[in-house]
Amino acid sequence: MTAQSIKLALVNTPVGKLPAGVAATAQAPAERSAVVHKLAPRPQPRFEQLRRVATRVAANVIPPLIVLALALIVWELATSGPKSSLPAPSKIWADSRDLIVDPFFVNGPQDIGLGLRVLTSLQRVAIGFSLAAVAGVLLGCLIGQSQWAMRGLDPIFQVLRTVPPLAWLPISLAAFRDANPSAIFVIFITAIWPVIINTAVGIRNIPQDYRNVAAVLRLNQAEFFYRIMVPSAAPYIFTGLRIGIGLSWLAIVAAEMLTGGVGIGFFIWDAWNSSRLSDIVVALIYIGVIGFVLDRLVAVIGSLATRGTASA
């Protein structure tokens, strides 16, 4: 009843028997015509709505919480022995409470909260990844659009993209003579390949119809680029960006372990050198959560930006 917004009520229905909410406008019982009444959806009781939302949230939140609790118990039991080489959750809480409760404390140049360290790492990722996104989309458009660019560049890209991120580090240290730009370069070179390759596939998959429309309208190269190419390839581009941001986050931690500084990667290396295993576990959780958030962020931006593009 509530789902229906339009109800047909026959005129000769007795007024008293009209369903609730239908205006009683029946006057001519002899006429066998139908009168259409528009019904406003009945407002749901507030507690009903709340209950539904709560059920949905609970269905999504409770299972992972249970699994997490079970994992913590198993972990605690497995590592609680006196000879255990890894810290138990209770020990981590005791050792690294300051890191867990306050991400943004500053006690000195190398004694700062993990939130601040993560921000430093994120800044590097932001610069490197943005450069990779812009350059990757442009190069991807080039090799997607031009047969000759494809033939010339694609084999080289296919070889270069298999080089592990860290293998670029010595070269970039030699070139930039500074840790920070080197780390940014490693991010750039890691993230750019999936962006290039996915963009190129997206461009090659532009339907001939859109090209015909562009031809009939006589769009010039620049107009074709931003009117047709980019929107049409957008779903592919965002797939590339999403893979790219994931790889960036993988690479920054490794790169920072080697270059030093204030990033989260160096923190782990530093903690290892001073045998603070509990701190490492906390840092790992930070990295995991941030990586998840980054992935979701790009996915959400992608689904907003490509609204309607996938369906035609």
Partner: protein, 283 residues
């Protein structure tokens, strides 16, 4: 009723007016080269199309009628021969030969309004002010009765509505010749009839020159002033050109019993199913 015409220029013009044709197709051949294999799709096609005429091109599938339309649109180049639009040779696509594509080809990331507006901005960007372009866009959407959905995206409207928008976009370019490539092929029968009526009333109002590809005999007879019938490919050519002397406006229901209509329909049927019946890919 029909004079059997061998491939030579067809010079029928409505009411015997001594007018110059808008579009002239002169001895056009089209050969597709694939590796060492050359396939001749069209052979020696000549046709003149006069102002405000509605011409249908009909034939079995694979007879090269879409190729002919693509040649007129400039999307593919002729191998030999020439296509002249108002005495100027056609060799690239342009808005003076706007196309209504079979599968509407609206850009799914733009709203209905923006799809039409893109064409308007491109064609009239210099000659009309911003406000004029807006009014022009709205007018064309109104013409195809799609004003109510102007802010929807193509994914949110039905197939018939999309094709209406496609027609609005093509009309908005104010083409000298409007090309329609099986515009209603993908629609159900009721929607198709509705759209055919719309196209007839638009044609009556705007008096534009239209070339339509179709494989629907009723559609061809109902809408056209002339029906160009193509022989089977490869090396298809124009078999006959049938004038449809039915008074406009034409009413779908009255046509069912109109002797001229029935006769025209029969002529096309005989051409397609007796003399040039469909042969499954002889190549």
């Amino acid at each position: 009723m029909i004079a059997h015409v061998e491939p030579k220029p067809h010079t029928y013009s409505p009411a015997g007016a001594e007018r110059k044709p808008v579009l002239k197709i002169e001895n056009v051949c089209k050969t597709f080269q694939r590796g060492a294999v050359a396939t001749e799709v069209l052979k020696d096609v000549s046709l003149s199309i006069y102002h405000s005429a509605f011409v249908s091109i009909i034939g079995h599938s694979g007879c090269g009628k879409s190729t002919l339309l693509n040649l007129i649109a400039g999307l593919t180049r002729v191998t030999t021969g020439a296509i002249l639009l108002e005495d100027r040779e056609v060799n690239e696509p342009g808005p003076d030969r706007a196309v209504v594509f079979q599968n509407h080809s609206l850009l799914p990331w733009l709203t209905v309004y923006d799809n039409v507006r893109l064409a308007v901005d491109k064609v009239f960007g210099r000659s009309k002010s911003r406000a004029e372009r807006h009014d022009w866009t709205m007018e064309k959407l109104d013409l195809v009765q799609m004003l109510h959905a102007k802010d929807k995206r193509p994914g949110e409207i039905s197939g018939g509505m999309k094709q209406r928008v496609g027609i609005a976009r093509a009309l908005a370019m104010e083409p000298k010749v409007l090309l329609m490539d099986e515009p209603f092929g993908a629609l159900d029968a009721l929607t198709r009839a509705h759209l055919q009526d719309s196209v007839m009333s638009i044609h009556a109002r705007l008096k534009n020159t239209v070339i339509m590809i179709t494989h629907d005999i009723d559609e061809a007879v109902l809408l056209s002033d002339r029906i160009v019938m193509m022989t089977n490919g490869p090396s298809a050519r124009i078999g006959e050109v049938l004038p449809v002397d039915l008074r406009r406006p034409r009413n779908r229901l009255e046509m069912v019993s109109d002797p001229t209509y029935i006769e025209c329909r029969e002529d096309v049927m005989k051409f397609l199913y007796e003399r040039h019946h469909y042969v499954e890919s002889a190549a």
